[in-house]
């Protein structure tokens, strides 16, 4: 589904990603872990087209298409979704109208007719229930005055509505209490299928107890320095990241 080959990117002339390689197939969940500043969120930003990032090497193909060549909206229309680490508050844009606009633009891109109000409402109700998202929040301004947990749940609700092929969860667990974490994880687990894939970016192993990954990668200093299965996450929890930094740093001298 997604192939990342030697991806390099910078922000304001500072090199952040220094050659990332990753293959994600349908039905897989990949966790990307690493210390602060290692480039985890930058990878999510580059994959979804945040304009501050300049790609200066490598390629990314999504379902055989050049992802880096597309506008952010076209990436979404092709089926890439980013659950934001810090979802934006937009007063004056209603949550539900925003979602309906998004959904119909995606459908138009795929040559599908727009959903009528009734169908949309039905789907919305069903998915709210699936991810335990408060119906009252749906009608409010987008994320305005939402608690941290409500914002993250709204991200998962949007994910449930838009049904992307590839979902990137950028530190969705940060700032969540255990109940919210469970709700968010349950939502994701219900949405997992053999046809879609997830990249779960996290700082903590805690999330991976709920969303069990097929693969774990450790990102450090702009590169993936170790890959393994879910047991790697446990090892990181116990030993921290230092044991992975050292050989890498001595290597680079």
């Amino acid at each position: 589904m997604l192939t990342i080959n030697n991806l390099q990117a910078s922000v304001e002339d500072k090199q952040i990603l220094k050659g990332i390689n990753l293959q994600v197939n349908a039905g897989e969940v990949h966790a990307i872990m690493g210390p602060n500043g290692s480039g985890k969120s930058s990878l999510a930003s580059v994959l979804t087209g945040r304009s501050q990032y300049e790609v200066n090497g490598g390629e990314v193909t999504f379902e055989g298409k050049d992802l880096l060549d597309m506008s952010p909206e076209d990436r979404a229309r092709e089926g890439v979704f980013l659950a934001f680490q810090y979802p934006v508050e937009i007063p004056g844009v209603s949550n539900i109208n925003f979602l309906r606009t998004a959904m119909n633009e995606i459908r138009a891109y795929r040559n599908l007719p727009p959903l009528d109000a009734k169908e949309f409402l039905k789907l919305s109700r069903e998915r709210q229930k699936l991810v335990e998202f408060d119906a009252q929040l749906v009608n409010r301004s987008l994320n305005e005055g939402f608690s941290g947990g409500e914002k993250k749940r709204n991200e998962i609700f949007q994910l449930a509505m838009l049904e992307p092929k590839l979902s990137i969860l950028d530190e969705t667990d940060s700032g969540l209490d255990i109940d919210a974490l469970r709700i968010v994880s349950n939502g994701v687990n219900k949405l997992r299928s053999k046809d879609n894939a997830f990249i779960v970016i996290t700082h903590y192993q805690r999330l991976l107890e709920y969303i069990v990954p097929d693969f774990v990668h450790v990102l450090y200093n702009g590169r993936i320095v170790k890959s393994g299965t879910k047991e790697l996450a446990l090892e990181l929890e116990e030993r921290g990241y230092d044991w992975l930094k050292e050989p890498f740093e001595s290597e680079s001298i």
Binding site: G49, S51, L82, V93, I106
Partner: protein, 430 residues
């Protein structure tokens, strides 16, 4: 090529003609106002309140200044309306009343008739500070006719009063419309003003609207400006409020008129008065939109709130000047003011100038002013959900305007304004 001297000469001749053979209070007012105008002249950028707006280039044209009522108007003019709006329609042609609908509890008359009947003396030009406003002085000296709207005591008007200003001329024209509104005790009314310019010639409008909101009366006053680029609008509006009254002013300025200068004053002359000023201006091309507002807290325990928002495109320019004046007696005043600007082009400029003058010591006042471009993160958030860039930008502009548009209490008018915003901004951005 002409200049403002010859325009002044025309006004002087007109003034002499209007006042010859007349006696009485109106003559005295006009005389004094013309003398004031002669003394002040047209404002130059040397005046503090005209520092950012040079009006003189807009006056350099051969204007026809009188006898505009002889111009024919198409018969269908009253069809100009807002979809779904159920209102009493009052049409003015070049400032003159052409039809006065019969409305229970509302008296509508020409100013001349009202003067003859003795109903206007107590109000007309009685509280506006012409010495500080050259254009208001000029209008007071020379307005040809106009209308008086009186909402009678205890009357709740069933539908909004929709004043449609229509203008037509066979050459460049200088018009001076005049409106007097008196909301008597405990009355409640909505007034909507819109404008339709029919000719392709330059139009300079210098209007004065005086509003009196008497004890415990409520008036919602909507002004919608969407004139063509050939027009220049200088307006003076003042609401004089008595105790326990409420006056809400909503001023929407859409892309169009080359020059818009709005002077809006609320004089809070009683206790427990409430005043809201909401403004939204969308400027495009080479447009200059200037809003000068002033809230005068003269008595204790009053509340005023002002919110003006602007969206600027192309090489347009906007000016916001908001003055809050709290008199020494006006203890327990609550006065708030906010001006936010969204610049969609690198070449658009805005000058925002809040002024607080506070002479009382137990007051709550605040003001804030911002100017910025799109929040990139908001734009990215919408795009990352599959929403195209142009649609996303329009959503963000509508959201920016929402704080003001959502204050409009008449659903059809609100829908009309939202449509105008969308219509005026669904072009490509820089």
């Amino acid at each position: 090529m002409t200049d403002t001297v010859s325009l002044y000469d025309q006004f002087q001749a007109l003034h002499a003609e209007r006042n010859s053979g007349r006696e009485g209070w109106l003559k005295d007012i006009r005389e004094a106002a013309f003398n004031t105008f002669t003394e002040l002249g047209f404002p130059t950028i040397k005046r503090e309140d005209w520092k950012y707006t040079n009006v003189l280039p807009f006056l350099k044209e051969e204007f026809q200044v009188e006898q505009l009522h002889s111009v024919a108007f198409p018969a269908t003019i009253s069809d100009e309306s807002i979809a779904g709006l159920d209102a009493h329609i009052i049409v003015l042609q070049n400032g003159r009343l052409t039809n006065a609908p019969k409305i229970k509890g509302v008296k509508i008359a020409t100013i001349n008739d009202a003067v003859d009947l003795g109903g206007a003396e107590e109000y007309l030009a009685k509280s506006i500070p012409v010495e500080k406003h050259p254009f208001a002085a000029l209008n007071t000296a020379l307005f040809e006719d106009g209308i008086v709207i009186e909402i009678e005591k205890n009357v709740q008007v069933d539908k909004p009063l929709h004043i449609i200003h229509t203008y037509n001329s066979l050459e460049a024209a200088f018009v001076q419309p005049r409106i007097l509104v008196i909301s008597h005790k405990h009355s409640h009314a909505d007034i909507i003003e819109t404008t339709k310019v029919l000719s392709n010639y330059t139009l300079f409008s210098n209007s004065v609207t005086e509003v009196y909101v008497k004890e415990n009366a409520q008036l919602n006053h909507y002004v919608l400006q969407s004139e063509p680029a050939t027009s220049r609008f200088v307006s003076f509006r003042q609401a004089t409020q008595e105790k326990d009254s409420l006056y809400n002013n909503y001023t929407f300025t859409m892309p169009g008129a080359a020059l818009v200068r709005n002077n809006l004053i609320a004089a809070l002359k009683g206790t427990n008065v409430e005043t809201h000023m909401f403004g939204l201006y969308l400027a495009s091309d080479n447009q200059l939109i200037d809003n000068h507002t002033s809230v005068e807290h003269q008595q204790p325990n009053c509340f005023s709130n002002e919110l003006y928002k602007g969206v600027l495109k192309d090489t347009s320019k906007a000016i916001f000047s908001g003055r809050i004046h709290v008199f020494q007696d006006a203890q327990k005043t609550n006065a708030f003011q906010q001006n936010n600007n969204l610049l969609l082009s690198d070449k658009a400029t805005v000058d925002s100038k809040p002024q607080l003058e506070i002479y009382a010591d137990d007051v709550k006042c605040s003001h804030g002013s911002t100017a910025g471009s799109f929040n990139k993160e908001s734009l990215f958030y919408l795009q990352s959900r599959g929403i195209g860039e142009a649609t996303a930008r329009n959503m963000l502009v509508a959201a920016f305007a929402f704080d003001v548009t959502s204050k409009v209490k008449i659903p059809a008018l609100r829908a009309h304004i939202e449509h105008l915003i969308e219509h005026n901004l669904t072009e490509n951005y820089d």
